[in-house]
Amino acid sequence: MSAVTTSEKTVDRPLPPRAPYILETRDLVRHFAADGSLFGDKAVVRAVDGVTLGVRRGETLSIVGESGCGKSTLARLLVRLIKPTSGGILYQGRDISALSEREMRALRRDLQFVFQDPFSSLNPRMTVGAIIEEPMRVHRIGTRAERRRRVRELLARVGLRPEFADRYPHEFSGGQRQRIGIARALASGPTVLIGDEPVSALDVSIQAQVINLLEDLKEEFDLTLILIAHDLAVIRHMSDRVAVMYLGEIVELADTDALYDRPHHPYTQALMRAIPVPSPHARDMVAELTGDVPSPLAPPSGCRFHTRCPHATELCAQKKPHLEASGDNRFVACHHWRSVADSAAGLSEEPARPANAAHRLALYRAWTKKQGQNPATQSPTDQAPTVPSEE
């Protein structure tokens, strides 16, 4: 039987000490050629446009932003799934931005990726066992028998039955497939795991299971976790630090609690105001930003956010603000952050749960935990795979 050990040590994770950077980017740029007009110049999409960022060993760093902000491109650059147009990527101090495919292959053992869509990221013609074994085969890890054994251990570790190794991806639900994707990513024994929206395609209850799993695995395998996500509540729950991106640039980077308690950048503030809080007594959601994100083909002058920013002045249209330290280990790219920061304290606050709700949720928690400890009850997804019914 598989057993999902629910380690309690991750309950309130202390902030890790300022560990050294394991992965860094220096003025990283990635442009894509877009289909230009028939006779004109080729247009250029500035997907990632000058990102300097350090990821500390052992931390969970999240990159948040809306569609088209470049967060997925940045994630792929970090593990060199794509090559940068310019700038540096350093893994353990070594510049990997210009390494050849062959040189990169060895490094892929360390840098693994979990994709958003569990339906398109697993080869439908391979068994689950072969999918999980593949990274070990590629990196020539262990003998065949050892690899097979490892596959079964990994399956059990992510909460699936070891026998599932002989089945095919289509037999599993979205949540189970995401667990398979995670098992595959762990197979080569990575140091860094990058998840591109790893839980956003899942239903809330399944999402919570996978979040807990990722947190446990991070602890157990001593991983550095980089999460690309758009759900600010999930990010608050999982991250030590957060980088907010807008149109290819980082506009704010801070420790999670500091960022949520007092967002400095007007864009971060607008993101938080836009979230509908699941409580009827909470502040109303506010649609502060009008219009859409401008095209990355022709980003606005000066501060790229000035066209939608409620605090924008003439200066913002003319002069580009650089990411500057604003105390408390925080960086913000805004000319006006000093006057703007105070307007948004307490945005992420939720009212206390009403007494009845709080009491019953406590009951639910206590009894779910009790059932989980009972060896007679099933572990989370330890049931026969079924063809998922998607709506």
Binding site: N212, P280, G291, N356, R365, S389, E391
Partner: protein
């Protein structure tokens, strides 16, 4: 059995015991669902994939292919007529007119080959005795009302020329073009970014206040429920497990599934330790457990729960839950575990 009648004296739509199955499956996809909506009211139907919320909406709109779908029991009274037994032609006269729907993915629900102005005008022409010119004027008026900038220029755009948020505005313009009494919105903001979602939800709320349209909002997001809903029905595996005013359900949640959903959502305000999840997975239509369908995943379930389907029972006026254990704290046995 629970009845909505007392809390809702003159509903616009009254669904009673809707039961629906697909010929390929052994269980009911929607199993005895009852709810009602009054003019100007917003009812949210919340639940996860496969709970039957979208199928319920589609069946009301007459948009489910039958076969394979088959309605085996129930009624849905709208304007004094049963939507579930309405001839096709009569349904076509109501749909897009007295009753309209917007979908999650505006790109697939707009016709890519037609200009958006023409698509909105067509809906008007179909149901109103107006000229082409008048219909086009109405299309322009609607684009203005959904706050599409430079609406005159946008009339001749094709859907692919618009952003996701703008397309959803066009869908809303089209749905509201004939002043429907009932609007059904199926996850209208799920595919959108949060800042755009906030714009669209605010727009829907404003338009609803102006027009008095009744709204059924289908969503998986309890945040959206708290933001726009007056009442909420929580669905699980084809059944409503809890129903009440949004305040009742958030302040006094009763059903263990509602509690499980709430505890699965991370908090925006602080990290509350490890998330408490709902173990296991939603059953498929072929593996529906007997009795309470949530029992196999419920920490409070006992043999009685698996023996019979728990009826949706009022716990206070207008607030009902389908759980024989509710209220949980009444059983000292459960309450003991908290300390």
């Amino acid at each position: 059995m629970h009845s909505d009648a007392d809390s809702n004296p003159s509903p616009l739509l009254a669904v009673d015991n809707l039961t629906l199955r697909f010929s390929s499956a052994s269980g009911n996809v929607v199993d005895g669902v009852s709810f009602s909506v009054s003019p100007g009211e917003t009812l949210c139907i919340v639940g996860e994939s496969g709970c039957g919320k979208s199928v319920t909406a589609l069946s009301l709109m007459g948009l489910l292919p039958m076969p394979p779908a088959q309605i085996t029991a129930g009624s849905a009274m709208f304007d004094g007529k049963d939507l579930l037994r309405m001839p096709r032609r009569e349904m076509a006269a109501i749909r897009g007119n007295r009753m309209a729907m917007i979908f999650q993915e505006p790109m697939t629900s707009l016709n890519p080959a037609y200009r958006i102005g023409d698509q909105i005008a067509e809906v008007v022409l179909r149901h109103r005795p107006v000229t082409r010119k008048q219909a086009r004027a109405r299309a322009l008026e609607m684009l203005d009302r959904v706050k599409i900038p430079a609406a005159v220029k946008r009339l001749d755009d094709y859907p692919h020329q618009l952003s996701g948020g703008m397309r959803q505005r066009v869908m809303i313009a089209m749905a509201l073009a004939n002043d429907p009494a009932l609007l059904i919105a199926d996850e209208p903001t799920t595919a959108l970014d949060v800042t755009i979602q906030a714009q669209i939800l605010q727009l829907i709320r404003t338009l609803q206040e102006e027009t008095g349209t009744a709204l059924i909002m289908i969503t998986h997001d309890l945040g959206v429920v708290a933001e726009v809903g007056d009442r909420v029905a929580v669905m699980y595996a084809g059944r409503i497990v809890e129903q009440g005013s949004v305040d009742d359900v958030f302040i006094d949640p009763q059903h263990p599934y509602t509690l499980g959903l709430m505890s699965s959502i991370p908090s925006l305000s602080k990290r509350e330790g490890r998330l408490t999840t709902i173990p296991g997975m939603v059953p498929t239509v072929d593996t529906m457990p007997p009795g309470c369908r949530f029992a196999p995943r419920c920490p409070f379930a006992g043999a009685e729960c698996k023996a019979a389907v728990p009826p949706l029972t009022d716990l206070s006026p207008g607030h009902a839950a389908a759980c024989i254990r509710a209220p949980l704290e009444a059983e000292a046995h459960f309450d003991g575990a908290v300390a």
